[in-house]
Every structure is written in C-alpha cells, then in structure tokens.
C-alpha cells in the first residue's frame, strides 16, 4: 500500500480553516511528549499556557499588549509573503524604527511638547522603511536575495543598537546599564487603564488591519501583488511591475515594523534597551503563516501567539519551563501548519498496486 497526493481541481476551503487547528493540535501532541521527556508536569504546563493568561484582568491586558505588535508586523509581512517577497528581517526594521523614534526623547530630554509623540511615530515609521529600503534597493538593482539581505540587516541593526546603548546614548545616570534615559511622559502613549501597561497604541494595528484587508481583498493594488506571487509571468504579461511589488512589500513591512518598534519604546519599555524587540519580528512570521496569510486569519493567529507568550512567562515560574520551550512550540506550529497545508491543494489517496489476476475497474 502506498500513499499518493492528487492535486485538487479547486482548493478546499474547509481544509484552509482546519489546517491551523490541526497544526495546533499536532504541536500540542509533540509538546506533551517533549514535556514528558523533560520530566515537567504536563497538565500544569498547559494550564499555565492556555488558562492562566485569562485568569486576571492584568494578564488579559498583557495579552493585548503582545497582540498589537504581532498583529501589526504579521499583517505587513503577509502582504509580502503573498507577493513572494521574503522579508524575514522585520526584527531589524523594528530595531531601527525604535532607534529612530528614540532619537527624539534622547536629544530632547526636557521637551514636553505635544509634538513629541507624533514626531516619534513618523520617525519610527521612516526608520523601519529606510532599513527595509536597503533590501528593496539591493533586490531591484542588484538582484540580491532579499531573504539573506534582510536577515543580515537584522544582525547589523542589533549591533547598531548595542553601539548606541553602550556609547553615545547610554544613560549617564544609569549605573552603566546599556540603556537610554527613561522617556518623559509626553513621549509615551497614554495608558488605557490604571494599573495595566496596555496603551492607546493598540489602535494602530487595528486600523492597519482594516486597511490591509481593504487593500488585499478589495483593491487592485493588492490584486497585483497577489498575481505577482502566484504567477510572476502572468504579472509581467499584464504589465504589473515586479520592482514595484518588491518596493511596496518591503516598505509596507518597514513601516509596520518601525511603528511596532516605536510603540515598544514609547509604551511598555519606556526607554531604548537591548531587548527592545522581544523577538516579535520572528514570531510575526509564524503569525502570518498560521493566519493563512489572510488579514482575518492573522487576527486569530496573532492573538493565539500572544497568549502563548504570556503563557510562556507563566510557565517559566509555575512549571520551571525554560522560555526556549515556547520557541520550540512556535517552530512546531509553523512546521505542522506547512505540512498540513498541503491538504488544501491536494487530496490523499491510498494506492494499491493492481494485481494482474484481478484488475479492478473504476467506474
């Protein structure tokens, strides 16, 4: 007996929805085995991951705090992935966005201007876009592979961050810690509730999501990008510029990641420091895929991964689970998602070799 994949004439919508759910199920299965191997309490761990985050109000607001940047970056990355522009350097674009935005409070330490925050938003967006533009330029002018370039640029961005934090931007009163001064209130997003870190910046990813949904589902610009990703020759034939697709995908991602970086330093962190990205740039890749690169799906996926991150923090304390276990779980999610996604376009068939004596007729 053998298994074979037959291409479906039409893709399966049911499978499209079932795929992320199967991926989650399979990942949890493998993680259970892993926990048994590591000799960790399975039930307690899953409780920490999926129930504990919802047990109090503060924790729920923390989920949304993580949800924002994940949603923002993933929406933009998904646009690029659909156009087959493989920007995996959102991490670097986020860092540069945060750096650019931080320049305002760092150089205007005493300013209380109302323009502080808007200026930071603009600079954050521009910083991320500038960093992404390097990759777009090298791709369109020199045909340089954007996967490698964006990745390398992330490593460089991190070194720039370290340089600034250890040198010119280091807080002189900061006991030699690699971080800037704490920013003044005027440079921070206002809190939504007392006693919670969630702030008004959550509006940005939500508005952005609506915009992306309109663009990808209803607008000709989105259509052009999708055609470029599905059938590059058809895009050329129709006269859609592939260079434009590279530029717009990368600039969009730079924009989103830059603002995400900015909203970290002008939100929960309140200063520029080494851990400014919390790995959002990489997690967003998983979010984009788990959401089937669909603006609506990504909302759910971003929420799920935000829960996972908060749950990971809980499990760190309650079950003594290393934070790397969360990364393993994320990796598994993406792997199982990609494997099961096959069944959206293919149907599994069991083939039995036909025997000579009894030929089977298919009617």
């Amino acid at each position: 007996m053998q298994f074979k994949l037959d291409r479906r004439v039409h893709y399966s919508k049911a499978m499209l929805i079932a795929t992320p759910i199967m991926a989650v199920g399979l990942s949890m299965l493998v993680c259970t085995l892993l926990l048994l191997v590591l000799n960790k309490p399975v039930l307690l761990t899953f409780h920490s991951f999926f129930i504990a985050p919802f047990e109090n109000f503060y924790s729920i607001t923390e989920i949304f705090l993580k949800f924002g940047p994940l949603l923002l970056i993933a929406q933009a990355l998904a646009v690029g992935f659909r156009a087959k522009v493989w920007n995996i350097g959102a991490e670097g674009q986020m860092i540069i966005g945060a750096i650019a935005a931080s320049s305002v409070p760092v150089y205007f330490v005493d300013s209380t201007s109302a323009w502080l925050l808007p200026a930071m938003i603009v600079l954050g967006a521009l910083g991320g876009m500038a960093w992404a533009a390097i990759a777009a330029f090298l791709k369109t002018q020199f045909n340089a592979n954007e996967i490698l370039v964006t990745l390398m640029l992330s490593s460089i961005a991190l070194q720039i961050l370290y340089y600034l934090l250890l040198g010119p931007w280091k807080d002189p009163m900061g006991f030699n810690f690699p971080q800037t001064v704490m920013f003044q209130d005027e440079a921070l997003f206002p809190y939504l509730f007392d006693g919670a870190r969630i702030n008004t910046s959550i509006a940005i990813p939500i508005i952005f999501t609506i915009g992306i949904w309109l663009f990808m589902e209803k607008h000709f610009g989105g259509f052009r990008l999708i055609v470029g990703g599905l059938a590059p020759s058809a895009a050329t034939y129709a006269g859609f510029s592939s260079k434009k697709a590279v530029w717009s995908s990368l600039l969009l991602a730079g924009f989103a990641a830059g603002i995400a970086g900015m909203s970290e330093i002008a939100g929960p962190i309140g200063q520029l420091q080494r851990s400014v990205t919390s790995g959002y740039g990489y997690s967003a890749i998983i979010v984009a895929y788990l959401g089937a690169l669909n603006p609506i799906g990504i909302i759910f996926a971003a929420f799920f991964l935000a829960v996972l991150q908060i749950g990971g923090d809980v499990a760190l304390v309650s079950a003594d689970l290393p934070i790397s276990a969360v990364h393993v779980f994320q990796g598994l999610l993406l792997i199982f998602y990609l494997a099961t996604y096959t069944f959206v376009n293919y149907r599994l068939r069991v083939v039995r070799p036909i025997t000579q004596a009894t030929p089977k007729l298919t009617s």
Partner: protein, 308 residues
Amino acid sequence: MSTIEFFLAGTLSAATIFLLAALGELVAEKSGVLNLGVEGMMAVSAAVGFVVTYETGNHLLGFAIAGVSGVIVSLVFAVITISFLANQVASGLAVGILGLGLSALIGNNHESLTIASTNGIAIPFFSDLPLIGPVLFQQNIVVYLTFALALCIGFTFKHTRLGLAIRSTGENPHAAQALGFPVFLIRYCCVAFGGLLAGFAGAYASTIYTPLWADGMIAGRGWIAVALVVFGTWKTGRIAFGALLFGMVSLGELIAQSMGARIPSQLLSSLPYIVTIIVLAIISTNAARMRLHAPFSLGEVFDGSESR
C-alpha cells in the same frame, strides 16, 4: 605562534565551520532543494555535540551524535518539503526557528560551561616549516577532512554518475523521473547529507573552535553558509575560497584588537554581515550567470506528476 601565524591558522579553523555547512547546503541545492534551515540544524547539533562531549569527554562521540541530530532535523525539513510539498523557503524558516528553540532547550543546563580543547594534528616535517607549518599542518583533523571533502564533492559532481544523477534531479525533476531516477529518494538523501554536514559544522563550532556552550553561539553562521553557496555560484572551489574569506572576516575583531585599532567592536561584529550583503549584491547582479549555474528547479515544489 606569531600573531600572523595565529591569525592565518585561525582563519583556516573558522573557515572550516562555514565550509562544512556550505558544502552540505550545496549538495541539497544541487538536488533542487533550498534548505534555509542550516542555522537551526547547526544550532541543534552544536548543543547536542557540546552536551555529549561534556558529559562523556569523548569528542568523537559528540561529533557523531551531533551529525545524527543534524540529519534528524534535516529530515523534518525533508518530510514537509519533499513528501508534503510545502514551500521550501517557509519550511526552512520554520526549521530554523525550531532548531534555535531546541538548541536553547538542549543546552539549557550547560550554559557557559566549557570543555577541554583538542590538539591539532601536527604533520611530521611539514609542521616544522616556518609560517606555513603552524598554519597549514598543525590543524585539527576535521579541518583536513573538510577540505578533502570539498575536493571529493567537486569531483563527484563533475565526474561521477551519482553526481550527474543529483545534478539532473536539480535541473529538471520531471525529466529525471521520466528517466527512472528516484527523484524523491535522491532529494531525501541530499537533504540528509546536508543535515549531516551542518551537524558536523555545529559540533566543530561548539566543541573544537570555541569549546564552550552559549545560547545563540552559531550567530548567523548558518545563514552565511547559505549565502556562500550563492557566492560560489554552486561550485566547490569558489565556495571554499569564500569560506576562507569569511573565516578571515570573522576574525576581524581579534586582529583589530591585536593591532590596537580603535574601532567600535560592534562594527567589527557586523563585518561578516556587511561583507555578505556586499558580495551578494555584486555576485547576483549578473542574472544570466546566476541562471546558468543555479540548479534550475531550485526551490520549486515537485509533486511527482508526470507532466511539466
């Protein structure tokens, strides 16, 4: 050892990591499979290699088990891309993310521990030669074997039936299947071979080159290895040359310090990445040459259907 000797010997040693991983990736790509999970495979094997060597004191065992773990991770990639027809780029990223997580998990209890370093093999007579003796003839055996392997792989692709079969699978899997080649099997084997070499590269990094474990110690070298295959336009000789170049660049920090130059260390740490970007841009400009040398079906999903 003089500074220059130390530097050149270090270059060769550092280059070995790049070369091993890049050769593995070359073989996988020649069969038409783009495995971007090299970084993840190296990270897992580096952790496994270190833990095994630390616990047993046996370098050989550490190396062997690291190789096996590299193969296992590569097979995860192979299953989803070759059997489940998943997008190779996304799958490579997935394996990379999984590998980094796993490596941290595996090395969790060994963070910042060290093991005894190994001695190089001094080749009689030659090792006593001035300058080139210490540089070329007192290296670890892995260094010699790696460069010998580069020659072997180059020869295999050029002159053997096996090499032709792999190349033809990478150029046109449909035609290769029509000729009766087991396309899926060839690709599985090539990807697994890539995993094995990435595993050795990781083990070399964590048990010989810098015999200590620190989370994130692979530090992008797997990605540079992927880039090296492009730099070398899928030719072993040029890949080896590129590996030496990057071995040298990665020592930049040490040289600068020894020369007392006042350059920010972050700039020096960025140097390999900056060089990667620049070289990549220069090499890729000539699209026609890339098309001529790159395996034609690289990165494309092959579902075994009989027609093009």
